[in-house]
């Protein structure tokens, strides 16, 4: 009897988790399903890019501006690289860089936010005032200026955007954490003599996770669009690295080409559509997640 009890509990727990996941997913509306499938496809393209892409990332395989055909499904770009391959590698580079930036910004902003909510005092005052000043400048303008100072490189791009974005994350993390740090269980952990790390990551963080996850989706979209815009402006990800924003800029002259050359859609629209589709998909999923976690709020 006593020997069986833990086993039984374990089985039930596992099943209920699986069951609840299945139930949640089956109740998802069409838009959320669409979003999840699109995101999954992008992730597959990004992770397995070298195996999926027919040609190399910066490999010159044909003549410039070749129309789509059996050899090059989407045609070639201005120096004869395969557009389809560059689109697939672009998924890896653009999404990868945006993801790392968002992750870094959440690591910095989230930790600082929870920490200041716990500590309060002069640290909180100091950081909050600095963050207020940062929030007063639009991200794109600030990023442009800092890129001019430090020079255009991927590392600089990630660090600058992560720093600017972490101020937004900090605000949310601090505001939500303020409601949690006054709870009895946090007090109990403090009295128990737990360290700061334990209190932040084991007591507070799990309880502010749902709004942070939603915010992660939205911040990722924002960072992703900003990186694309910066690359499009020629100050973000630099060639020959394949990236959707700069691909639009490189092939923009093609929209004036006669339609005969590009039967359905002019070439510059492929990377632009790739960007738009991903952000729309994420927004759909985030919308649904918001509905699930907060029932009432259906606003932005």
């Amino acid at each position: 009897m006593t020997a069986q009890a833990p086993q039984l509990r374990q089985v039930r727990a596992r099943r209920s988790l699986w069951e609840s996941t299945r139930r949640t997913l089956s109740s998802a509306p069409f838009s959320a399903w669409f979003g999840m499938i699109v995101i999954l496809l992008y992730v597959i393209a990004a992770v397995f890019a070298p195996w999926i892409a027919p040609y190399g990332e910066a490999e010159i395989v044909g003549k410039a501006y070749q129309p789509p055909g059996p050899e090059f499904w989407f045609g070639t770009d201005q120096i004869g690289r395969d557009l389809l391959s560059r689109l697939i590698y672009g998924a890896r580079n653009t999404i990868g860089i945006a993801f790392m930036t968002t992750l870094l910004s959440f690591a910095v902003g989230g930790t600082l936010g929870v920490l200041t909510a716990l500590k309060r005092g002069w640290l909180d005052q100091g950081i909050s005032r600095v963050v207020d000043a940062f929030l007063a400048i639009p991200v794109l303008i600030f990023a442009l200026m800092l890129l001019a100072v430090f020079g255009k490189s991927i590392v600089n791009l990630i660090l600058i955007l992560a720093l600017l974005d972490s101020t937004r994350v900090f605000r949310l993390a601090r505001a939500t954490a303020l409601n949690v740090v006054v709870m009895d269980y946090v007090e109990a952990a403090k009295l128990r003599g737990e360290g700061m790390g334990w209190i932040i990551f084991k007591e507070v963080l799990p309880n502010i996770l749902p709004p942070l996850i939603t915010e992660f989706g939205l911040r990722f979209c924002f960072v992703f669009l900003t990186i694309s815009a910066l690359s499009f402006l020629g100050v973000g990800i630099q060639p020959p690295t394949a990236d959707w924003g700069s691909m639009v800029a490189e092939s923009k002259t093609l929209i004036t080409f006669p339609v005969r050359t590009f039967p359905w859609i002019p070439a510059p629209f492929y990377p632009a559509i790739a960007i738009a589709l991903l952000t729309v998909a994420i927004n759909f999923v985030v919308d649904w997640f918001l509905h699930k976690t907060s029932g009432l709020r259906d606003e932005v």
Partner: protein, 323 residues
């Protein structure tokens, strides 16, 4: 002192303080570079003499605080210094001369967008809030969500493709100069303005809708309904006085957004505005121009947000009629 006046003065003070901090940050960004800016521009191989000469030429050999005070003082007199592009040559190009015509063009574009976008999105947003969950609301919601998630340059190229290349209704490049007359200017700036309008209307409409739904769900609206006030009267007498603050916030927020949105759109249409100038200067690392542009953008942004704050304070019924 009247509470309204006190709060407004507080906000004004805070705005000036923010502007000061931002100007320091913009100024200091140049100082943060390891090894100095001269080395970054001239390359690793530059001799110490060249670096020193370059620093003397652009005045970087003096203490930062002195230069900051001088920089800010000059800006108040409308002097942003000289562009690096003409340094060393016989013609020095003043940043102010470079920026002034472009600033006019950018404000022209922004005004043109705002005049159409603000009333349009307010009407659409209010209708969506009043007829919540109707077919109109749902369609408008998904259309605006898609517009928000789409990069601006994509919308810009789509419009250019359909309205300037497929159908030659507009020019695909919006080149304007000092000699362009007013009507021609409007015509040439139409496509960039429409692009911005689509983006702004989407944002603004969603925010107006959200703000109004929040308002309509408040207890005093329910009370008005329960005591039998007609819906029209309830909205005009009870909801509207409280709606000015959120609506002002929405407008100011989106005008501030517009200020940033112009950068990408100007580059797409090669419209000679300040955004395009900033991007060009970032590429050539022409720091006086970049700093001047950043300061102008930031100041506009701060000013608009401040304006929204003040409007919402001044129209707040609770502050206007203190107990």
């Amino acid at each position: 002192m009247h509470p309204v006046l006190r709060t407004v003065l507080q906000r004004l003070g805070l705005g000036v303080l923010t502007l000061f901090v931002v100007s320091v940050v913009i100024f200091a960004s140049l100082e943060m570079l390891p090894g100095g800016f001269a080395e970054a521009i001239l390359g690793q191989g530059a001799t110490p003499e060249t670096v020193a000469a370059f620093n003397r030429e652009i005045g970087l050999d003096r203490p930062a605080t002195v230069r900051y005070v001088e920089w800010i003082g000059n800006i108040f007199r409308g002097d942003f210094g000289y562009s690096y592009a003409g340094l060393g040559g016989s013609i020095k190009r003043s940043v102010t001369d470079l920026i002034a015509p472009r600033l006019y063009n950018t404000f022209f574009l922004a005004m043109m967008t705002a005049i159409v976008a603000v009333p349009l999105s307010l009407i659409l947003g209010i209708l969506a809030a009043l007829y919540r969950n109707s077919w109109y609301d749902r369609i408008v919601n998904s259309v605006t969500l898609t517009t928000i998630a789409t990069p601006e340059f994509f919308i810009a190229y789509l419009l250019m493709f359909f309205f300037a290349i497929r159908n030659k209704w507009f020019y695909s490049l919006s080149t304007v100069s000092d000699t362009t007359d007013f009507i021609e200017h409007i015509y040439r700036a139409a496509l960039p303005a429409i692009t911005l309008m689509l983006v702004i209307v989407a944002h603004m409409m969603r925010m107006t809708r959200a703000a109004l739904i929040n308002l309509l769900a408040s207890p005093y609206m329910e009370m008005a309904q329960l005591k039998g006030v007609p819906r029209r009267e309830a909205i005009i007498k009870h909801a509207l006085p409280n709606a000015w603050a959120p609506i002002a916030t929405v407008i100011a927020f989106n005008l501030a957004y517009l200020v940033v949105g112009v950068v990408v759109v100007e580059v797409v249409y090669v419209y000679p505005g300040i955004g395009q100038l900033m991007v060009d200067s970032v590429s050539s690392r022409d720091m006086p121009v970049v700093q001047a542009c950043a300061l102008i953008f930031a100041a506009t942004y701060i000013f608009l947000n401040l304006l929204a704050d003040i409007i919402s304070i001044v129209t707040n019924p609770r502050l206007l009629h203190p107990k």
